[in-house]
Structure formats: structure tokens, C-alpha cells
Symmetry: C2
Subunit: 475 residues, 2 copies
């Protein structure tokens, strides 16, 4: 049954998106302009994202800390590129405790400055390095538009900030953390993203280079989902973060930062969901299985409970919907909330020795014989199949929406039918980048470092090109 609260995805994608966010109770607008409330269903997804990423960060030797929310203007101003990049979009605190402040404080838009300030007074010798710190926190950027999870003034994220004794080690850190984001998207979120270098124009303010993870939404629009920056010694020179190296000489540290945000929840929705509501890959779903007893017979309720316990004991998150609502209402609710597997247990089915499994992703109903049913194995296999199928479907969609362009006309033709990832050779000039921007705001997503150029000629100016770039329209 089509959910009437949800506009069709093919009819109006933007409206469909906000309808799903609202119907699945993930987030809502608030009376604080530009800021959203993340509701229980949405926050549970973020908690699961946090727990999986945090475990991985810690396995790789990172530790968590918490730096201040506020940055004094003087401290922010020490690194000129960062200031230029962020100053236009920060919020300023100008009074506290009923007094006007001598120096304004901005709410952190990102925390390179604070980590540098900390490191400057805490690192002395090469024996103190590397320092692999991360923090989970809120940040604020004064956006003009608001779209839940995709763009809001305040958002939640993790920001890793590491310092190293050598350039090589710091570059490796930049790369391995990008690998973590790619792994997370492919293996957990079932999103077949692409990855590469940002162009000079698109890289993070103050970075030597930026690696980016780019996901393609169902409508062909790109979403930047995780970036990893190499700073070299730019910040360490600006903030005087020095150490004594093995040769007993003073040297500036080599630095990285990397972050991923609640925006990934938006990506999950726009890659996988449908007109019936949220669809979640099992590995990121906070609740993986809902058991819906039909009728009140003791046999049905007992079996429901038995299955729930067996699944929970096997680390499959299952619950029984034993509310007073009608079965049909419960089915629809489980569907809109994106519970990957629904098990319907009815008295009549039991008499026939069957029960019903329903996949959320395909909405397929599978009647299963109850004799000799190993509930844990069967469910676990089904969840893995769903995970795999969702990845394959997303990959197929991404491949269908990946195009090649050899000329400006190609770009225009593609973007005017369906947008997507557009591969094209690029000479490396900002001029050509800006020319593409005039076509519906096309921007470079990333430079593919391991792929050969199409024909070695810039698709914009026709000059020699050595870089294969993926272009697209972005959120």
C-alpha cells in the first residue's frame, strides 16, 4: 500500500525526500532557523554509524578527545586560507554573562585551530608522535538553506586531527582514513561511492590536498560523503607546532584531518529509499527485524517471543510489535520505518505449518515452512542477501548514471536529460572548471588517480589533458 504521506520519488524527488524524512520520523525542522531536531529514529541511525566508525578508528590506534566549542577570533585568524574559507559562514558570540566580550568568539565550523593550539603546547619530541586524535561533536556553519541532514547550520560529525613526524606517515594516514570511509560506504551503507582527489578549487581551505568520497544519489546528484585532508606543515607553521626529531633538530609536524557527518543519513535515504518510506541496509539498521503476531493466540505470542530471543541472542536486533494497532497498520509502519525484515506470524499460517517473511527492500513475501526452521540462520542469511542486493542495485543505478563527455555539448546533453557522474578529461585549468559551472552548476567531484584519460584532450578547451575527472551536480 502506497504511503499517502509520501510524494512519489519520480514525481518530485526533493519533496519525496523530505516526506520520507518526516514519515519515518528521522528529523524535523525547528523554530530555530537553519537548525533541525534529529528524532529518535534518525538519531538511532547516527548512533549505529558512530559505533561502527568509532570501533574502526580505535582499532587503527585513534583516541577520542573533546576540544572547546568556541574559537577566539585571534586564534582563528592565524591561518589565512582557513579564515578566508570559513569566516563568511561562522556565527559570532559577542557577549557572555551579560557583558560584551573584548574579543569575539566564533562557534567552531571545524577545529583545526583548536587542535593545533593544543598540540603546540603538548608535543615535544618525536617520541610523542604520532598523536591520533578524534572528536565527535557539533559544528556550525551559517548556511542559507536548510534541508534535514543535507544542509543545516548545525550538524553532527566526527573530526579526526592527527600529527606526524614525517610527511610520508601523514600522507599514509590521509589515505588510510579515506579507505575507512570508502569501506564504510561500500560494506555498511551499501553505497558504491567513488573516490579521488579534489581539484585545487574544491579542496579544503588550507589543505595541501583533499581526498573525497563521492556518492551518487538516485536522482543523479552527487553527495560528498567523507573527506580526508593532508595539510603538510601549513597549519603547524601558522600555529607553531614543533617537535624535536630523531636528529635532535626542531621541525614542524605534518598534519591531517578527516571527517564524516550526519549528512550520510541523507545519502542513505536518497540512494536506497522508495515511495513506501525508508529502506535501510541491514548492517546500518538499528532494528533489523520486526515480528508481528497476528491475533492473540498463546501459540502465536509464544513463538514470537521465542524467535525474538533467539535472534537477539545471535546479535540480530529484533523486536515484537505487540501494540494494539491493526496488523495492516503495523505492516505499514514497519515499512515506512525501513525495518529490513518483517516476520508475520498468524494462527492460520501456523496451522498450515508456515509463516511469512517480508523483505523491505523488494517488498517480496516469502512463505517459509516452519518445520526444522533455523530462525537465526535463515534470518541472518536473508539479511545478508538484502545487504548484498541493495549494494548491487545501487551500483547498477550508479553505473547507469555514469557518463562520458568529450565536449561542452556532451555535458549539456547529459545534464539536460539525467544528471549523474560525468567522466571527462581535464587540462587542469580553473578557467575550464568555471566554464562547466555555468552549465547548471556542474562541479568537479574528484580526480580519478588510477584511471587513464579518455582521449587526452580537455573536454572544455580541447587542450592536452592529463587528468580524468568526474563531474556532477552536487547537494
Amino acid at each position: 500500500m502506497k504511503n499517502n504521506a509520501i510524494t512519489s520519488k519520480t514525481e518530485d524527488f526533493a519533496k519525496w525526500y523530505t516526506d520520507v524524512v518526516k514519515a519515518a520520523k528521522l528529523a524535523d525542522y525547528t523554530s530555530v532557523k537553519g537548525c533541525i531536531a534529529i528524532e529518535p529514529n534518525g538519531y538511532a541511525i547516527w548512533e549505529k554509524m558512530q559505533s561502527i566508525l568509532d570501533k574502526k578508528f580505535k582499532e587503527l590506534g585513534h583516541v577520542n578527545v573533546q576540544m572547546p566549542l568556541l574559537i577566539p577570533e585571534g586564534l582563528l585568524n592565524k591561518e589565512s586560507e582557513l579564515v578566508e574559507g570559513f569566516a563568511p559562514e561562522v556565527a559570532w558570540v559577542t557577549s557572555g554573562g551579560s557583558k560584551v566580550l573584548d574579543e569575539r568568539l566564533c562557534i567552531r565550523p571545524t577545529s583545526e585551530t583548536l587542535f593545533c593550539d593544543y598540540y603546540a603546547s603538548h608535543v615535544k619530541s618525536h617520541r610523542d608522535l604520532p598523536m591520533l586524535y578524534n572528536q565527535w561533536c557539533n559544528v556550525l556553519r551559517w548556511e542559507k538553506e536548510t534541508r534535514p541532514f543535507l544542509r543545516s547550520r548545525e550538524f553532527l560529525w566526527q573530526e579526526g586531527h592527527t600529527i606526524h613526524a614525517t610527511e610520508e606517515e601523514a600522507i599514509n594516514e590521509t589515505k588510510r582514513m579515506m579507505d575507512v570511509y570508502v569501506w564504510f560506504h561500500h560494506e555498511i551503507l551499501a553505497i558504491p561511492s567513488i573516490t579521488g582527489l579534489k581539484t585545487e578549487k574544491e579542496k579544503f581551505a588550507g589543505a595541501e590536498f583533499t581526498l573525497t568520497n563521492e556518492a551518487l544519489m538516485y536522482n543523479g546528484v552527487a553527495l560528498q560523503s567523507g573527506t580526508s585532508h593532508y595539510f603538510g606543515q601549513k597549519f603547524s607553521k601558522a600555529y607553531d607546532v614543533k617537535f624535536t626529531n630523531k636528529e635532535n633538530k626542531e621541525e614542524y609536524v605534518y598534519q591531517t584531518s578527516w571527517g564524516a557527518t550526519t549528512r550520510m543519513i541523507g545519502g542513505l535515504i536518497m540512494v536506497h529509499s522508495d515511495d513506501y518510506g525508508l529502506v535501510l541496509p541491514p548492517r546500518i539498521a538499528p532494528k533489523q527485524v520486526v515480528i508481528i503476531p497476528i491475533g492473540n493466540s498463546e501459540k502465536v505470542l509464544e513463538l514470537s517471543k521465542k524467535y525474538m530471543e533467539e535472534l537477539n541472542n545471535a546479535n540480530i536486533s529484533a523486536y515484537i510489535d505487540d501494540t494494539l494497532k491493526s496488523p495492516g497498520f503495523k505492516f505499514a509502519e514497519a515499512e515506512v520505518n525501513g525495518i529490513p525484515v518483517r516476520i508475520e506470524i498468524g494462527e492460520r499460517d501456523l496451522e498450515n505449518g508456515t509463516l511469512m517473511f517480508v523483505r523491505r527492500d523488494t517488498r517480496e513475501k516469502i512463505s517459509v515452512n516452519i518445520d526444522n526452521l533455523d530462525i537465526v540462520n535463515y534470518t541472518s542469511d536473508l539479511l545478508e542477501t538484502i545487504q548484498k542486493d541493495m549494494y548491487e542495485r545501487a551500483k547498477k543505478r550508479r553505473d547507469e548514471l555514469t557518463f562520458e563527455a568529450h565536449s561542452l555539448e556532451d555535458f549539456e546533453r547529459i545534464i539536460n536529460s539525467t544528471p549523474g557522474f560525468i567522466k571527462a578529461d581535464w587540462c587542469g585549468s580553473e578557467e575550464c572548471e568555471l566554464k562547466l559551472k555555468e552549465i547548471k552548476g556542474i562541479k568537479s567531484r574528484c580526480i580519478l588517480e588510477n584511471e587513464k584519460c579518455l582521449d587526452g584532450k580537455c573536454a572544455v578547451c580541447g587542450k592536452d589533458a592529463s587528468k580524468l575527472v568526474v563531474w556532477g551536480i552536487q547537494y
Copy 2:
């Protein structure tokens, strides 16, 4: 070996406290006035506090959400008592994105307003109730002094905000969440706190009543550690949070809020630690056991590894210190960092068939015969013994520092020797409360609801008294 970086606790308690915080690398001051950096060792304690409390909250049916960081001035102003209580200590954002704002926004000092605003547009019927929401976040209050964990402008906490259909249910919620804080202090933090009602003067701005959990530090100063507030319909009337009750009539919801903060880390230090550094109860210690191999013999290293794996598999958090530092240095480091149990494995000991266990709390060395040693059982029992002993020692100290006063002279005499919890009857007048405040700032900690008065006469004015109150000096 006494740690030279740490001032003696008996010599200068305040200096000892900051020395321990610094030596154990828990937190440090930053160049952002009033704000601290929580370092890895400190943040790991907070993460363990979060995981234990969060699990308990969820078992009781609470779900996590995230409301905005900023509160528009107009929204804050709707509840007059709350504004009066918090307005003097908030920070104001007055410009964002290079523009001066039409309306100032304060950084949340607490989020009753934002939750009310959310609830007002999301609750309709008694079927939507209760809504049991909690959030983990940062808040900001413009404090004048800064002491790591005890007092800082920004701090981390959880704030639960719940709404209910009846007064009874909301009052029960207020009480059961206080029970959670008491359980957490007694069972996990090994802190024998006391609990009771705040007086009218000391209760939360806007609350009908406030329950508080009060811990006594080693030096006899009290620390408020967790509060739970019942609001009745005060906020729901101010913010128009209505629902249709079972009789199909509109009614305002009944509300609670309850919170606990990173301040509990300060309490842990000031109750348990010593001149050698941090001492942590095993149940809250992020790392419970350190294994220190002495020498490089393969036998020693293999046994160390075997023990570590066995302990980790039994959910005891153990690690090997296999750095290049000297054994003596490693012992001191484990000691200052408060690792509850240290296992020293040396070649010579092994030849004699023994190894050494060292308790952090008592610094007792226990030579253990290695034959038939069940490492998991032995360690697990030792950790439980330490936990129990630490609680008993803290309780003994608290009882020693709990006094009775029948007159102002009693108060003066007690407070001029050793401060502590001072039990005294109270007539209920604010005048008497203020008179006590003149004696070194003595304040009421809480009204003991389940204990009888000492003699039924107010210790200040001598008039009839029906309340037994615990008084003290506070952080």
C-alpha cells in the same frame, strides 16, 4: 615512589586536584578562556560513563535525540523563572554569516525550551505519551572561575526531558531517574552519595521540586552529582504543550528533566585518588589491568600475551605495556593513570613459579603462585574486591565527616575544624538558610525525606522544625 609532579593531598587539596588531572592526562586548560580540553584518558572515562548510563536509560525505555545548540531569545523568554535563573550566565550569538542577526540566539545552558518547543508540535493524544527523550551534548554557562571538570563554561552532559499524561507518572519518572544516578554512584563509581529534595532556594529555576544526588569529597566539600526535576505543568503551560486525554479533553502535559555531567569525573578524583595519582574503581576504569613484562625473555612475553587474551576474552580490559621504557617508569605511569590492577611478570619470578599482582587502591603487592592459577577468576575476584573496598573506604570517610549541629555555634565549630555533611533540623525559612550562608558559605545540600529530625528545633532560630537537612560547603 611518590610522584613529584603531584602536591600532597593533605598539604594543598586544590593544588593536588589539578596536579592529578594534569599528571594523569585527563584534561588541560586551553587558550579559550573558561573552556577545557578533555584529553584521551579523561574522555575514555566519560565514554565509559556514557555507555553504562545510556544502556540503563534505554532499558528504562528512553530514546536519544538531538535538539539545536542555539535558542532564539524570544523562545527562551517564554518561561520567566527559567530566564531569571539562566539569563545572567548565557552566551549570545549576535551575528552569523557576516550579518548582524535580527534576534539574538543564546547557546543552550540547558534545553527545556527546545524540548518544549518540539513537544508542542509533536504531541497530540494521550496515546503519544509518555515521550521519554534524552540527549548527550555540550552546554554553556558563563562561569567566572575554571576548574577542570568541576566548573567550566562549556561542559558535556546528558539531559533527559520527558512528558507524561499524569502527575503521578511524571513524579515517578523524576524519582526513578534519581534512583539511576544513585545506583550509578554507589555501584559503578563507588561513591556513597546521599540524596534528597533541594530547598525552594536551591531548586532548579522553574521546577516544582528538584531531587539531588550529593557526594562528599575527601576534603569534606560537597559536590552535586546528578539532579532530577519535576516541572508539573509549568513549562507545558508556558510553551503550550497540550494533549487530548482519555476523557477526550485538552490537558497540559506533566514534565520532568534530569541530568548528569562530566563533573562526575571530578568527583571520582576527589573521592578516591591519592598522592600517587588517579585511583579508579574497576567498574569505571577504561583499562582495568596492565601487564608489565620485565625483561625480554620469550617465556615472559608469551605468558603476558596469553594472559592479556584470556582477560580480554572474559571482558576484562587488559593491555600489555611493551614500550621501551624501564619497568620502574612503567609502574609509575600505570599508577598515576589509575589502572586498578598491575601484573608484573619477570623471568626470575617465573623461575620461582610466581608473579606479582599490585593493587592500585592500596598499592599492596601480592605474590601469586603460578601453578593452577586461573588468571580470569583470580583477576576478576581481585577487581571486585577493589571495587568493594573502595566503596567501603569512601563510606567510612563520609561517615567520619558527617556531623550533627543543634546551634549556630555547632556549625561554626564543625566548619572551622573539618567541613563535611552537617545534619541539622530546619524550620523551612529562607532567612535561616541565608544566615548559615554567612558562615563560610554553608548551603543546604538536601532535605532528607526518610529520616526523623534530631530534636525538632531549627538549629538556627530555635523555632519548631519538621525538616532534617544536610548542609555543607559546595564546589
